[in-house]
């Protein structure tokens, strides 16, 4: 019921086409990662699903057409983790995460005790309860990412869109963030669609990869089928080796010419 279906989705910025007739079917509870070189349109796919970008074609969430939904309706079904979420100085962690309850409030509504309980629960779940009263500008990069995830989770939307979740994090924090998202996905049956730069990690965490090049879908399938040396050298113009990690997926390793 939280499957995401894209049929013939095109997006243009001005006269420049960014996505051309994309067809994609993401199953409920699946983790699908969008990969592709810079400018391939990965973020634009996410923006279209979150209805931040105008699109032609049809996007359906749980069978319902996105085009006919109100802004709040969309936000109850789709939460989006932006690549660099803006965190206003002076706002506290709990206030920021509580904003995630907005889609469930009336236009002039007020958060109830239930909303606060949900937020307190999520903060505890992400080991952020000590940070509740902390100001957002006093957080480290990894803490900010966790807070952003908490805010997205507070929406309790079945579809989670993630734009480059590991940018500007060190290797350990990249793993921690992806593990956390994967755990939450399993526990809460979230459908995750992520734009990923880091191919090894994308292969390790995703059920399927969708390779986009210049706004068109080139291939979609399980990581071992998509992450091939020839595909990466063709589309990324990169020289790589794909190393089998003995049951832990494949590593994409750059090789100097």
């Amino acid at each position: 019921m939280s499957d995401v279906l894209l049929a013939g989705v095109s997006v243009s910025y001005g006269t420049k086409p960014v996505l051309r007739g994309l067809d994609l079917d993401v199953r409920s509870g699946e983790w699908l990662s969008l990969i592709g070189p810079n400018g391939a349109g990965k973020t634009t796919v996410l923006r279209a699903i979150a209805r931040l970008a105008r699109f032609e074609g049809d996007i359906r969430i749980g069978g319902r057409a996105l085009a006919g939904m109100g802004t709040r309706d969309v936000a109850r079904r789709v939460a989006m983790l932006l690549q660099e979420p803006q965190m206003p100085a002076g706002m506290t962690v709990s206030q920021y995460v509580l904003l995630g309850r907005s889609p469930h409030l009336g236009y002039l509504g007020k958060e109830s005790g239930k909303d606060r309980r949900i937020v307190a629960d999520i903060l505890r779940r992400l080991a952020l309860d000590e940070f509740a009263s902390r100001s957002l500008d006093q957080l480290s990069g990894g803490e900010r990412q966790r807070v952003a995830i908490a805010r997205a989770l507070a929406q309790r939307a079945p579809v989670l869109l993630i734009d480059e979740p590991t940018t500007s994090l060190d290797m350990g924090r990249q793993q921690a963030v992806l593990e956390l998202i994967d755990e939450l996905r399993a526990e809460q049956e979230l459908t995750v669609i992520a734009a990923m730069h880091e191919l090894t990690l994308a292969g390790q965490y995703s059920d399927r990869l969708a390779l986009l090049v210049q706004g068109a879908l080139v291939a979609v399938g399980p990581p071992d089928e998509i992450l091939t040396e020839s595909a990466i050298s063709d589309h990324y113009r990169a020289n790589v080796r794909i190393v089998d990690m003995n049951g832990s997926g494949h590593a994409v390793v750059p090789v100097r010419k």
Binding site: R76, P85, P88, A89, M91, T92, S102, A120, S133, Q188
Partner: protein, 365 residues
Amino acid sequence: MLGIFGPRAEPAAGALIALGGLPRLRWVWGAAGFASLLIAAAVGALVGPVHIGLGTVFAALLSHVPWLGSSVSGVDPGQATILWSLRFPRVVLGALVGGMLATAGAAYQGVFRNPLADPYLLGAAAGANLGATLAIAFAPGGSFIGVNLVPLAAFAGAGAAVAGAFALGRTVTGLRTATGLILAGVAVAAFFNAIQTYVQQSQTNSLRQVYSWILGRLVTAGWDGVLLVLPYVALSLVVIYVHRRLLDALSVGEDEVVTLGVSVRRVRLIVVIAATLGTAAVVAVAGTIAFVGIIVPHTIRLLAGRSYRVVVPLSMLFGAAFIVLADTAARTVVSPGELPIGVITAFVGAPFFIAVMRSTRVAAL
């Protein structure tokens, strides 16, 4: 749809979970706001060329309370007239003007996510100045159904300028971004200012009157001025007040707030219309008093907190107190003459604001 979290994840009903760090208006600040407004009102009623004691002020107030009034006696009729037809209406008008300008400033800063936004951002001041200048220059002493033409023309001018900015912003950028609307406001203000300056320079006999109007002063039209602005100010303040949570939500940025299910365009439109309506009304009776819409909300942010749940109600109270005091100073400092109130707000306000900035973390702005 919402049942996707298993019951395991649902906190037990009635479980006591304290969520710290949520912004709320501390009672100390609320009490301080009310106290400062009361003190300012008392000062405004007591200070003037004719000495009137505090007891007389209370007696004069009580004498107008239904059922109680007849039991109050001993108020000098002359003093009662001074209080009821001069000082009280002026205090009330000052409170309405100050509360409105400070709150409108806070609202504009919120919807445009711009710390320099003030209630005149979209051309309200330029429009009001042009309307007032035209009325003063070409229809001196004119009136329309018994009401002085200057405030009416100023109100119409302010409304026309902001409506023009909206129309222009809409055709150029489709109101998608706040920047488009702000630039449209800048263009409209420049255009209106050009006409206003031309009229002002070509009608030299009304120059002084025009200039004094532009710098702002509270008209002493008894209760008429109060009744003229009250409905607009009340409506505007209520609308801004009920949008406090949404103003906080807007601070996360235009994209992110849309993913939270908030229609930025709708919030911006409603809040800007409300703030402009109130601003146009007070500009019509008080001229364009500068600086209040910036200094009051920012001082509150620095001292009491940045959330609009704190900033909006405190702007109403402290903005009101500030203008009542500034007006009292404006009519006493060079008595029997009167200084433009904008001179006082900037002369006292600027150093005070700098002192607050120096003693707090400016980064919090």
